[in-house]
């Protein structure tokens, strides 16, 4: 098999800062890459959940990126994916156990979506596209950037849904008693709708500011 040729292109010359910000805006996992959409829809019912899920994913991303970039030279190509999965699954399990121990309420709220981080294409995608090729520090930054990007979008969607659907902001009620929030927004249709409309807005902004 031919070795991939490293192109003296954009990525190589990217500064560490760029690695970091890349995931937040230019390759935002949710609004640009559209990866790992299940949690984006499922758990964004309160700001805390969104934020917690984002952070959990970020932890896994950073951890797995670090491990993979450390081990990258000892992995035969053919078992690459299998090893990645092992590593990622382990990181996820670790995060799972830690959350169970120290943030049990959040763990309950996120439920099955914590173990499902394993299949979030984002994590594997970063392993493949980045950690496999780059150094430990850059990989960690990349994971962190992506994780933060993911967290920001999750939190954003959660906030919108929580305010519209529950009338509260991070569980603090913000609409006067007696007024009704629009329940739809914390129910399944609201998840799709909020994401869809925010997506359209993002696209419009992107077009306007030519990002």
């Amino acid at each position: 098999m031919l070795k991939p040729i490293l192109r003296p292109g954009k990525e190589e010359s990217m500064s560490n800062l760029k690695h970091f910000t890349n995931g937040i805006i230019k390759e935002n996992p949710t609004f640009v890459l559209v990866l790992g959409t299940c949690p984006v829809l499922a758990i964004t019912t309160t700001g805390f959940n969104g934020f917690g899920m984002g952070m959990a994913t970020a932890m896994v991303l950073v951890l797995s990126n670090i491990f993979i970039s450390i081990l990258k030279n000892y992995i035969p190509d053919k078992v690459r994916i299998a090893v990645f999965i092992t590593i990622i699954a382990t990181c996820v399990s670790v995060v799972e156990l830690v959350m169970k121990a120290f943030t049990p309420d959040l763990y309950k709220a996120l439920g099955i979506f914590i173990p499902l981080i394993v299949v979030n294409c984002l994590v594997l995608g970063r392993a493949e596209a980045f950690a496999q090729k780059k150094g430990v520090f850059a990989s960690a930054l990349d994971g962190l950037g992506m994780g933060i990007g993911f967290t920001i979008s999750l939190t954003l969607i959660s906030i919108v849904r929580e305010i519209l659907g529950n009338g509260s902001f991070f569980t603090i009620p913000i609409i006067p008693a007696g007024a009704h929030p629009m329940l739809l927004f914390i129910l399944p249709p609201g998840a799709f709708l909020t994401f869809g409309l925010l997506f359209a807005v993002m696209n419009a902004l992107k077009r306007k500011f030519k990002i």
């Binding site: 299940c38 499902l116 129910l187 997506f199 359209a200």
Partner: protein, 191 residues
């Protein structure tokens, strides 16, 4: 009666895509054409029903007896990943043309979180082996239903045209929202 309950719940009331939000990536990604959606749906159904049987056995005969349930995530994902590979080999070995006709959908399944989730949910719900498999098949049917509906709608949208600003994901998501809304009519169908 129990089985009917599991089936109706899994197909419509708690539709995996429209009310549980699993497998959304494929719902957004591979619903461009009805034929694709059917192929993907069938492949997913097949893999998750096999997968559920195997994970159920692993759970009851290995993980629980040795108290290593914390390996659940790792073992299950391996089961799914390798099941896909093996099915691919088997189909290819037995009838290559068959494999050519639909082999493409298999690899996509591994990164579909529905596959892993169904295995985990079946364990969480304490289903026995048969229930677990029936559940998986029903989930698969519900998955296919949602996929096909979406694909039909998107095909029509392509012909009709729709606003530029909504092109791609936003439109798909709004349609998903209205579908989910319609499906809420099924809530409470089985108690």
């Amino acid at each position: 009666m129990d089985y009917i309950k599991i089936i109706i719940l899994a197909i419509i009331v708690n539709n995996i895509i429209l009310s549980q939000f699993l497998g959304i990536c494929s719902f957004l990604g591979v619903t461009g054409k009805v034929s694709t959606a059917i192929g993907m749906g069938a492949a997913v159904t097949f893999v998750i029903s096999m997968g559920n049987a195997i994970t159920h056995l692993i759970q009851t005969y290995i993980l629980i007896p040795y108290h290593i349930e914390f390996l659940q995530t790792i073992t299950f994902i391996f089961v799914v990943a390798f099941l896909v590979q093996i099915v691919e080999i088997i189909v290819k070995k037995s009838v290559p043309t068959l494999y050519q006709a639909l082999g493409i959908y298999l690899p996509l399944i591994t990164t579909n979180c529905a596959t892993l989730a169904v295995a985990l949910l079946a364990v969480q719900n304490h289903y026995n082996l048969v229930q677990s498999v029936v559940y998986a098949i029903a989930i698969g049917i519900g998955y296919t239903l949602a996929m096909v509906l979406m694909a039909g709608i998107r095909e029509q949208m392509e012909i009709n045209g729709y606003p530029k600003g909504m092109r791609g994901f936003p439109m798909t998501l709004v349609i998903g929202s209205l579908l989910a809304m319609a499906f809420m009519g099924f809530s409470g169908l089985v108690k």
